[in-house]
Amino acid sequence: MLIITRRPGERIMLGDDITIHVMEIVGNSARVGIEAPKSLPVYREEIWAAVKEENQASARVEADRIANPASDAGARV
């Protein structure tokens, strides 16, 4: 992992399009601003990890546990 020390008001560039602003540090919290292309989703890591875990758990289920769409010959929306 790359580790960079920054002071409040300083920034980090990820490539040409993504800017991370270190805005202020209060106590043990850092306020960070992110400027990124609007098509890029930005998540708090713990939410991203929890949703990933739910998606993976959902995808582990076998078809017979719920309903098998193929049993009715054919897919449809």
Binding site: V51, E54, N55, S58, A63, I66, N68, S71, R76
Partner: protein, 148 residues
Amino acid sequence: MPITIDTTRFGELEIETEAVIEFPTGLIGLGGSRYALLANDETSAIVWLQSLEDPSLALPVTNPGRFFTDYYVELSDAEATRIGITDPDLADVYVTVRATEMLEDCTANLRAPILISRGRGHQVINESEFAPMRAPLFPGTREKATAA
């Protein structure tokens, strides 16, 4: 030209081009860019979001309105701008289902719904107050053990 895919769960399926849903950023943590919804029939409570790239990847999903009448999706401005959907009511909303042996333990992820509009799908973070990541689908079924 329909797409033919030999899925792990459902065998060989033919998917009409119109039924292909493009996911510009995939599902959170799972990726993938093209999926399709598979259903037994129009009334199926649970449908499957099948990846068209990974035959083994499919997630059971449901329309949350069937189970949670007060459910609504609230997007942050950044998220609405990103996906180009300012009013979630205008999109089809699905939530992923975590199915278990026990019906009463089945849950839906109300925090990260999937919005589908005009052939494009987006899994988003729901900012509304009632958005648990594991909402029981069948609360109260514990008393009716034969319901399954």
